[in-house]
């Protein structure tokens, strides 16, 4: 996809560009807010990555102006300001997701994928009541999960976890994303509490079947799908 990176730290922008390009994306760079806003409005992008603190026009003002111009392109806000109210103000002006520096590159990649997937709901079948990955089927109405026609019993939280993973099938989903989306917490656990929930879920959906579906992506997170990325 086509990404606009608005970041005043040119070296950080350079590595972002390199990483995203190697992941198969095409990037444009803007080094200050004014240039960034101009490029964002005139160009066609799938997603914007905007740093918060920038010379000339700061990130929040850029997003506000961008949204005021009637643009709906998803925006990812990056910031060294990690406080809760900063996060809220970032989302309030029209940002779609907020990532606090330092972030893992895998986290950014996963969130960008989730953002663009969300922007095209019709294509991904989000409105369906049943989600299907290979022979794994989740029926939201009946609150029922089957794999190869066999019923799998899940706890309510496990159900929500699987539902989120299936909605983002074939994407990398990070632990922080799961903690935010499934448990609604924005904090940084010292131990990996999510890992335990994942391995329990994996035991239920993968253990009795030859084809593993729930994969751990080292240093990034998890992916639900037929073939692991690496």
């Amino acid at each position: 996809m086509k990404i606009l990176i608005v970041e005043d730290d040119t070296r950080a922008a350079h590595y972002l560009n390199k990483g995203l390009s190697e992941s198969g994306h095409q990037c444009d760079l803007a080094a200050d807010g004014e240039t960034g806003l101009h490029m964002a409005i005139t160009g066609q992008y799938d997603v914007l990555i905007v740093d918060r603190m920038m010379p000339k026009l700061d990130g929040l003002a850029l997003i506000a102006a961008f949204r005021a111009a009637g643009k709906t392109t998803p925006v990812m806000v990056l910031s060294a300001l990690g406080e809760v109210d900063d996060r809220i103000s970032g989302l309030r002006v029209g940002g779609d997701d907020y990532l606090v520096k330092p972030y893992a590159f895998g986290e950014l990649l996963a969130r960008l994928n989730a953002l663009t997937r969300r922007a095209q709901p019709a294509a991904s079948g989000l409105e369906n009541d049943t989600l299907t990955v290979a022979d794994l089927v989740l029926d939201r109405n009946k609150h029922r999960v089957t794999r190869a026609e066999q019923r799998i019993l899940l706890q309510p939280r496990e159900f929500r976890l699987l539902e989120y993973l299936m909605r983002h099938a074939d994407q990398v989903v990070t632990r922080t994303m799961l903690l935010e989306q499934v448990w609604d917490y924005h904090f940084d656990p010292q131990t990996n509490v999510i890992e335990v929930h994942i391995s329990r879920l994996r035991r239920k959906i993968d253990r009795d079947f030859s084809l593993p579906l729930l994969h751990t992506i080292r240093g990034a997170g998890y992916r639900l799908g037929i073939v692991p990325e690496d």
Partner: protein, 468 residues
């Protein structure tokens, strides 16, 4: 503080009363002296009238004098029946020659001058008494040249009545003044206390980190308290400016340090994406990324502790149910706890509404649960419970682990403190410091105690006013 103000006003009231008593006593005694003086003068005039030489008796002899005096006494007695006056003439042997006394009064010496005796003396005929109760008689005794004694006197019934009346008035006045002194003391003491309370409330808010709070200053009054408040407010303005500067520096440092660290990590991660090129050192790169993650995580935790310590003004608070949060966190951690062969008992039935920040509280609870899991051996038990305790929401998290020695209870809340027993376990020594900063920012308290074996952490958070 309270007792000092009231003791002071009590002492003032007491001193005031004693002074008033002395003044009133002096006035009372002076009045009595004045009354006695007036009566004595009257008696002297009476005596002078009695002894005044008669115009036509000037040439008569001494024997005639006595008879003349007796006549005059009888005359006076005749006109003076109702006044209660006393007059008598006795010879040198004490025999009454004329007058209204039955005999010479027992307690009166034969000596010139004033004297007092009680009305109950048998010398007073009952018919002469002004009233039946007890009072004194004031008399003036005079020796005549022929050896006879003349006595004139006055019953003091009315005067003593007056004295008693004035006395009781004075006692009433004294009581009233004492009462008003006490009341005034209490009222003024309370006014002072109110001002002190206002200053203390403001000071408490400031101590909790709200540096925008200022001590109250009355716009017109300007008493000593206001003077102090003005001085302190100026000091606070200065401190606030300094801290603002410090915060800006911290934010800049955070930005400046985190950015290069972040770049370093992104560079490593991007390098890792290109598998074929760097296969030989992939392992080293992976470990570097993980180390970097550890450094950044410590750095973030430090920053978030400073933010929580900086106080309430930068953290958004909203109504939270502590019990629901505990149940939620218990559910999140249940799997991890079971994985370590421990059991979790969560007993948080009643909703406890507090004003707080959900993410900060969750982080604190997460740190405590991490600790409990880390330091409790297999087969142990972790209990998480909440109850209403007076005006507090109480949270207790107890484990059956290694616990903390009692003399280390305050030490463990400091940054980067790790006990010897924890040296070989993962962690950065910031967990409890973060918990303390969070609880303090929520105006709460945290206490550690021995669970025998294990550790009990008690957290008290102020309940929302609606639930008290």
């Amino acid at each position: 503080m309270r007792t000092t103000v009231f003791r002071l006003s009590l002492m003032y009231a007491l001193a005031f009363s004693i002074l008033t008593a002395i003044v009133l006593g002096f006035v009372f005694i002076s009045t009595q002296n004045y009354l006695t003086e007036r009566i004595t003068q009257t008696l002297q005039t009476d005596l002078a009238t009695l002894l005044e030489p008669d115009a036509d008796a000037s040439e008569s002899g001494g024997g005639r004098d006595t008879r003349d005096l007796i006549d005059r006494i009888k005359e006076i007695q005749h006109f003076d029946k109702t006044r209660g006056g006393i007059v008598a003439l006795s010879n040198s042997a004490g025999k009454i020659l004329a007058g209204n006394l039955l005999h010479w009064p027992q307690t009166i010496a034969h000596k010139d001058g004033t004297a007092r005796f009680n009305i109950n003396d048998s010398a007073i005929p009952p018919a002469l008494r002004q009233r039946s109760d007890d009072f004194d008689v004031l008399v003036f005794v005079h020796a005549l040249p022929n050896g006879n004694w003349l006595i004139v006197g006055q019953q003091l019934a009315d005067e003593e009545d007056l004295s008693e009346y004035i006395g009781s008035l004075f006692i009433l006045a004294l009581l009233l003044i004492t009462l008003m002194g006490l009341l005034g003391g209490v009222v003024m003491g309370r006014a002072a206390l109110k001002q002190i309370d206002q200053i203390r409330n403001a000071a408490q808010k400031i101590a909790r980190g709200d540096l925008t709070e200022r001590l109250p200053v009355h716009p017109k009054r300007h008493n000593e308290f206001d003077e102090i408040a003005i001085e302190l407010n100026l000091t606070l303005d200065r401190i606030n400016a300094l801290i603002k500067g410090m915060r800006e520096v911290t934010d800049n440092v955070a930005h400046d340090l985190r950015s290069p660290l972040n770049r370093l990590r992104t560079r490593l991660e991007v390098a890792l994406l290109d598998h074929n090129q760097i296969k030989p050192c992939q392992h080293i790169l992976n470990e570097s990324v993980e180390d970097l993650q550890g450094i950044l995580s410590t750095f973030n935790t430090l920053l978030s502790i400073s933010q929580a310590e900086a106080g309430i003004q930068r953290i958004p608070f909203s109504p939270q149910d502590l019990s629901a949060l505990c149940r939620d966190m218990g559910e999140l951690y249940e799997a991890s706890i079971e994985e370590e062969y421990l059991s979790l008992q969560c007993d948080c039935p009643t909703p406890l509404m507090i004003s707080g920040n959900r993410d900060l509280l969750a982080q604190a609870l997460s740190n405590l649960l991490d600790n409990a899991i880390k330091y409790t051996p297999r087969g142990g038990r972790i209990t998480l419970s909440t109850t209403k305790l007076d005006t507090w929401a109480e949270l207790r998290l107890c484990d059956t682990g290694t616990g903390i020695p009692q003399d280390q209870y305050t030490h463990v809340f400091q940054r980067f403190v790790r006990l010897d027993t924890a040296r070989n376990l993962p962690g950065n020594g910031l967990g409890l410091a973060q918990v303390l900063a969070t609880i303090t920012a929520h105006r709460g308290e945290i206490h550690l105690s021995d669970h025998q074996p294990g550790l009990c952490v008690q957290i008290l958070l102020p309940l929302s006013s609606a639930q008290i």
